[in-house]
Subunit: 373 residues, 2 copies
Amino acid sequence: MAAADLNLVNQTLVLPAPLPLDGGQSLAQVAVAYETVGTLNAGKSNAILVFHALTMDQHMVSAHPKTGKPGWWAKSIGPGNVIDTNRFFVICANVLGGCMGSTGPESLAADGKPYAMRFPVITIRDMVRAQVALLDALGIEQLHAAVGGSMGGMQALSFAANWPQRTRAALVIASTARHSAQNIAFHEVGRQAIMADPKWQGGDYYASGKGPDNGLAVARMAAHITYLSEEGMHEKFGRKLQDRDVKTFGFDADFQVESYLRHQGLSFTDRFDANSYLYITRAMDYFDLAEEVAGGEGGGKLAQAFAGSSARFCLVSFDTDWLYPTAESRTIAHALNASGAAVSFVELSAPFGHDSFLLDVPALDRVIAGFLG
Amino acid sequence: MAAADLNLVNQTLVLPAPLPLDGGQSLAQVAVAYETVGTLNAGKSNAILVFHALTMDQHMVSAHPKTGKPGWWAKSIGPGNVIDTNRFFVICANVLGGCMGSTGPESLAADGKPYAMRFPVITIRDMVRAQVALLDALGIEQLHAAVGGSMGGMQALSFAANWPQRTRAALVIASTARHSAQNIAFHEVGRQAIMADPKWQGGDYYASGKGPDNGLAVARMAAHITYLSEEGMHEKFGRKLQDRDVKTFGFDADFQVESYLRHQGLSFTDRFDANSYLYITRAMDYFDLAEEVAGGEGGGKLAQAFAGSSARFCLVSFDTDWLYPTAESRTIAHALNASGAAVSFVELSAPFGHDSFLLDVPALDRVIAGFLG
């Protein structure tokens, strides 16, 4: 598919005003790097905002500038595709705190040096706030739909709850309304792995040209396990050996799963900034929609978060996702029901665990296409 | 309970002959540090060998010499207790490769320097072989029972399968007949965390007095998550904050679960050798009983592993254990059934995940006491 057919555009907006943050600070000169596909209609009513997940970015369709790999949702977005760019204008912005062009810890602060750990701790709502400012700049009053998987789903929920008039629909895939103790625990392991790497240097590694790659790789390896299902790993790797017939009785990657994980860890360091990883995981851990919107804690208040919304909701979970299991989506569906919202909820069967939202699951395509109408 | 009542003894045996290893090498001057409780009867027929788990050691009853904490199974072993030392002579040996007195990577090689990474890669069967040599030295021909949880269960299985005449019963708790891809993956994360720590120095850190504590702590944190259930973590920690009322918008341990995990990681480094962690996790990853005994792969051959055994077996799993879930124990039970062995199998309900085998689960006490007779 040539870029011309898609009307694929990548650009960066510098927000016209400082961005207020949940932590109480505000950020000036916030850049929002974003990709658009398709054409915004005259009434500006056909926009879909896609929120990306933790380690993704705005390159939903275009090839990744660092890895050259196809956009992470390229298979689903295009003319006549699941998200049909003949009809919809699809937007995806790199999140605040990210490392692909939007303002984040590696961006330069007013003193001309990278923020590093001087970057303020941000929240999921802060990420959304930056993207609402982008919609304002684009003159888009109301979306056709807000769509996201995993951390993208958190943003879609936060968007629908905090800016209830800004979208007619929200599609939330493999996500949660708040991070569980186990979710926080896995993220904390990753952060400690990064911070334990002497090359992290308290976050001030940009000038050295050498970041905490070892720590970041370990963080990625630990996280990656949570993205796959036990069954999926067994199916894919089992106890198969890597390029050998017998165990070496050593510490090489004897098993295919070891080799695969090491590759996942190392290749991640080529495309991701370690400090961004710290800040984005922190934002996810802080996420608790009931607390964010309604000021309360616990599922009982979650319904209040959606009180102002008249959007249609669709929630999708996967039966092998143990990171954000079906029960999390069901909790959201119950809250939406209690708030009187129009909600559909489906648990899909797919063998890939949490990563199912990024992989080839035809039933998911049907749900998305059907919901977007 | 005074030591006199228990007849508690800690000592170390140096094996009289070199120990052959599955990797093809042999180890000379192997020390086996062990604890015994109770009294061996005249017929030497009342011995129970307890195999310890990954990070445990021979101090099943006595206070840990480094931490001062009670023995890891002190609540279950004693006069009139679940494992009744009025009747049984209970033995627990630090595993080969360990760091509490048995020969391992921090032990001195023939050249007077620590083995470090010159230590040979060992297997679960090698660990058991060292303990069979201990039984030989004690003149114990046949055990009343071999007992173990987690990695201890792997050893109990290996013992019953490879030395089928040496025990009349085997009790295997929260264990597996082989490590899954996910099990291997989590261990590989831990090993990479250790090896990524510059203080690891290729394993040669003993002279420096400073080991890879940061890496080892991260390894422990990642592993510790797998020992708890998601429900148990939610019950214990939820999203509760640590000693504060509001989030700090920083990277301190805001959440109790973060504080808890950091403590688990740091305190582990006070009592465990990082190289031992590498070698013992490797042995667990290599474990595949069907392959070990029958030379084959997969569950179909597992029954052959028990062909020579006339022991009674008891398998116990926990419904919230996702590290070695019930299906793993069921696979073993099916193989034992196919081999014609006497086997009982029970899944217990307990909220603590894998760690249930170490915690207060009255139903487990009843199963153990009932099985030991």
